[in-house]
């Protein structure tokens, strides 16, 4: 590693102030810090610091997404051959999945990181690591058959409008990956909903509807088994189908303490409560499905584990997190059942609560402020 370090040290002066490549210093810095944790020391305040940094945090989230990604890749192939009525071994299915998914991942990262680098450069900042996660989340919420140019513009939209206009990582109001998904959903509804997009190069005769699709048209009898929905051998966005794989990811996030378990569990609680309320009401078939089925269909689990927990766009106070999570689950199921135009209530519910998260925090913090004021008043009386 000494050779590499020496090489970087030799190149460094070119990128520093006054060097001929100073304009590219953010880019150099990004690569340098990727290879080597910097030699910076604590100059003020505490003299020792925790070993965790933003890169470590983000790489853990990416690791947590790997089960869902691998299952998704296999499922893309599996659904394709299933629709053609062909049975194949693992590797051909996985191979086809790779063919479909890898280009989407590459497009997402290249476009997103390109924009991130450009913005960091123009602002003279260091490149933020946030997109390492967003860049993987975006492919996982795409249908397998999405055209690559759509991935590119959705990613560009999400990074520029969803994040950079607010000031970059840490300042955004909406989750960037969901912004990308929502952009496609509203801009190209034909390609993002209906029955044909959820299976790669589907055979025409095969239905291919997702469980949510079936329910929208009251085909409750055509719902796959609970087991299939839990394992994820159903059509859907690349990473969302397998609740099992997502639970594995959730365990990584909760175990390392990087994802908020409070939010995950309260989303689940919110979804279950709304599902049970609908059971009580029972006005149509959709309302009568067992509440737990909401958790294993569509993007509910994926949203709860990877999207709702985004610390930047979620509520920041402990109490606020419970409220925020609960309302996400609650409203997601509400939208699913009540609004036939939007089969995937989870996406809209999270975006809605992203917008309301600061308000929730505001009231939680106000309660603390009032408590402090009350202390003074009690004292003044006494």
């Amino acid at each position: 590693m000494k050779v590499l370090r020496d090489f970087l040290d030799k190149q460094k002066p070119h990128f520093e102030k006054g060097g001929k490549l100073h304009k590219l210093h953010s880019t150099f810095d990004a690569f340098e810090t990727f290879l080597f944790v910097p030699n910076k020391v604590a100059s003020t305040g505490a003299h020792i610091r925790d070993a965790i940094d933003m890169k470590r945090t983000m790489i853990i989230v990416v690791i947590a997404m790997i089960p869902a990604l691998i299952f998704g890749i296999w499922n893309v192939g599996y659904q394709h051959f299933l629709s053609h009525g062909m049975a194949y071994d693992f590797w051909p299915m996985f191979g086809l999945g790779l063919q479909k998914v890898i280009p989407i991942i590459i497009v997402s990262y290249v476009v997103g990181l390109g924009i991130e680098f450009a913005f960091a450069q123009s602002r003279g900042h260091e490149v933020n690591e946030g997109f390492l996660v967003s860049g993987m989340l975006i492919p996982l919420v795409m249908p397998p058959d999405v055209p690559l140019w759509m991935v590119a513009i959705a990613t560009a939209f999400a990074v520029i409008i969803g994040k950079e206009v607010f000031g970059g990582t840490g300042m955004n109001i909406l989750n960037p990956a969901l912004t990308a998904r929502a952009f496609l959903f509203f801009a190209y509804p034909g390609e993002m909903s209906g029955d044909k997009v959820w299976i790669a190069e589907k055979a025409d005769a095969y239905s291919g509807a997702t469980p949510l699709g079936h329910l929208l048209v009251d085909e409750i009898g055509k719902l796959p088994s609970d087991w299939a929905m839990f394992l994820g051998t159903i059509p859907g966005s690349i990473g969302e189908t397998s609740t099992l794989a997502i639970i594995l990811g959730a365990l990584v996030l909760i175990g390392t303490g990087i994802g908020s378990a409070r939010i995950m569990f309260s989303v689940v609680a919110g979804g279950l409560v709304m599902g049970l309320l609908f059971n009580l009401w029972g006005a149509n078939d959709y309302m009568t499905i067992p509440a737990y089925q909401h958790l294993i269909m569509g993007g509910f689990a994926f949203g709860a584990v990877y999207m709702a927990t985004d610390p930047v766009t979620a509520a920041q106070t402990t109490r606020g997190k419970y409220i925020y999570g609960f309302l996400i689950g609650f409203i997601a199921v509400l939208i699913r059942v009540f609004n036939p135009a939007y089969p995937e209530g989870m996406m809209l519910s999270i975006l809605l609560l992203n917008v309301f998260a600061p308000l929730i925090d505001h009231y939680v913090v106000q309660a603390n402020i009032k408590k402090r004021l009350k202390r003074v008043k009690v004292l003044a009386k006494a």
């Binding site: 810090t33 944790v37 505490a46 933003m54 402990t318 913090v365």
Partner: protein
């Protein structure tokens, strides 16, 4: 035993280099009082280089409060008055002549004196600056009426000195100090003890105090946390606080009539060969401690503990309020793919490094930041190590935008930067939180005075 306040939030960081419980006398002729140790003080010199001083001779005073004087700990010669940029007073160096000449402030029994007489003695002898106040963590204003005085008898910071050992055999001086302090407030004197570790009779037999027991991880020993749990500060109120060795000095002033700035200092840290305690005086030179007693690697010398101490150079001096020196390795090295590798030996509060499996491991930590500074992204981290009924992230943001009203509403009167030290340690975004909090407190102090 009365009720124990249990504190759950916080974090104990186990480091290598705890001081062995031996006290040796330190041999040095070099001392310095550092005006920069005192928040909000504008020093005005009273001596020149070359002047002869006795123990207790005023060296400088605070321009804003002329009665607050800072005195020489030893007799000798003013060797140098060191200034920094903009003529900022850094150090007033005294070279001891070993004659031990002392100014006589007069013997007295504090029980027979009134508040004015005691205040006068403390001001004249230069012991007054040991008494500080919340809010703002500045030297107390003798004209104020504090609602209580808090003394934390235990320190929970990494490698912190053991006060039981330090006060051992000094029961009379401690009680006399308490007697003097009790004349300064109409409220209570809170003596806060560690429910599990404080055993010294000096503390437990004290009279005229309310004893409060605490148990929990750092920052439980911080006086700010204890005030928050026992009797939180409201707007317009003042609480005074000081530390056990300060009480001893005050007690000895009344018992002997002389300034006795004796300090027992723990020399700690992984780079110290024989970590132990030393008996010396306030402002002792660092070199006397470290000669032939530190490793050969590039080191950082800290006056205080690793969380809140100040970096000093080898030719520097121990700070006025510090009872500990910590020596740890500097961390100015590059680490290949350090963020991605498992990192078996790294310390982290998060469980993203496997080292969390070894709960009792002691670490040799260096000063590396372990990453670049980023925007505030993660949430809920500070709350895990911040046992106040205060929202730390929101308060920090209020300080960053200098919203005075919001800072006040969110509780800035109750905190000091030391209370945020652990937030700073565990922060993923590597923000210098203590610096921000100090800026906020200073701003508030300026606005309110």
């Amino acid at each position: 035993m009365s009720t124990v306040t249990k504190i759950k939030k916080g974090l104990n960081i186990n480091l290598i280099g705890e001081a062995e419980k031996i006290i040796a006398d330190l041999k040095t002729d070099h001392y310095a009082i550092k005006p920069i140790d005192f928040n909000g003080v504008f020093p005005k010199m009273l001596v020149k280089e070359g002047d002869h001083v006795k123990a207790g001779t005023p060296l400088f005073f605070d321009k804003k409060h002329e009665y607050i004087k800072f005195t020489s700990p030893v007799s000798g010669k003013v060797k140098e008055i060191k200034r920094g940029p903009k003529r900022l007073l850094l150090e007033v160096k005294i070279e001891s002549d070993n004659k031990d000449e002392k100014i006589d402030f007069g013997l007295a029994d504090p029980k027979t004196l009134d508040k004015e007489a005691i205040t006068e003695k403390l001001l004249e002898s230069g012991l007054w600056p040991m008494i500080r106040q919340r809010p703002y963590s500045v030297i107390a204003n003798p004209k104020d009426e504090p609602k209580a005085i808090f003394i934390s008898t235990f320190d929970t910071a990494p490698l912190a000195p053991d006060n039981d050992l330090i006060v051992h055999g000094n029961g009379e001086a401690f009680q006399t100090g308490i007697d003097a302090l009790s004349k300064l407030t109409s409220g209570k004197i809170h003596l806060n003890l560690d429910a599990d570790a404080t055993h010294s009779k000096v503390f437990t037999n004290s009279k005229g105090v309310q004893m409060n027991y605490f148990s929990g991880p750092h920052p439980t020993g911080n006086v700010g946390v204890q005030i928050n749990k026992i009797d939180p500060i409201n707007k317009g109120e003042t609480v005074w606080y000081l530390y056990p060795q300060d009480v001893l000095s005050i007690g000895r002033l009344f018992l002997s009539g002389h300034l006795d700035p004796t300090r027992i200092i723990a020399l700690t840290g992984s780079e110290v060969l024989r970590p132990q305690y030393y008996r010396t005086k306030i402002g002792a030179s660092l070199e006397a401690f470290t000669t032939n007693n530190v490793t050969k690697v590039k080191k950082r010398y800290i006056s205080g503990n690793v969380l809140t101490g100040k970096k000093i150079e080898l030719d520097g001096y121990v700070g006025f309020y510090h009872t500990q020196i910590t020596v740890i390795p500097e961390g100015n090295y590059y680490e290949f793919l350090g963020w991605a590798l498992p990192g078996m030996k790294k310390f982290s509060m998060s469980k993203s490094f496997p080292s969390f499996l070894f709960k009792n491991r002691k670490y040799r930590l260096d000063t590396n930041l372990h990453g670049g500074e980023r925007a505030l992204v993660m949430t809920g981290q500070y709350e895990k190590v911040f046992p106040f009924d205060i929202y730390p992230m929101q308060l920090i943001k209020a300080i960053m935008v200098e919203d005075i009203d919001l800072m006040e509403q969110l509780g800035i009167y109750e905190v000091d930067e030391e209370d945020f030290a652990l937030c700073e340690v565990v922060d993923t975004s590597k923000t210098n939180i203590q610096e921000i909090v100090r800026r906020g407190i200073d701003l508030m102090h300026k606005e309110m005075s």
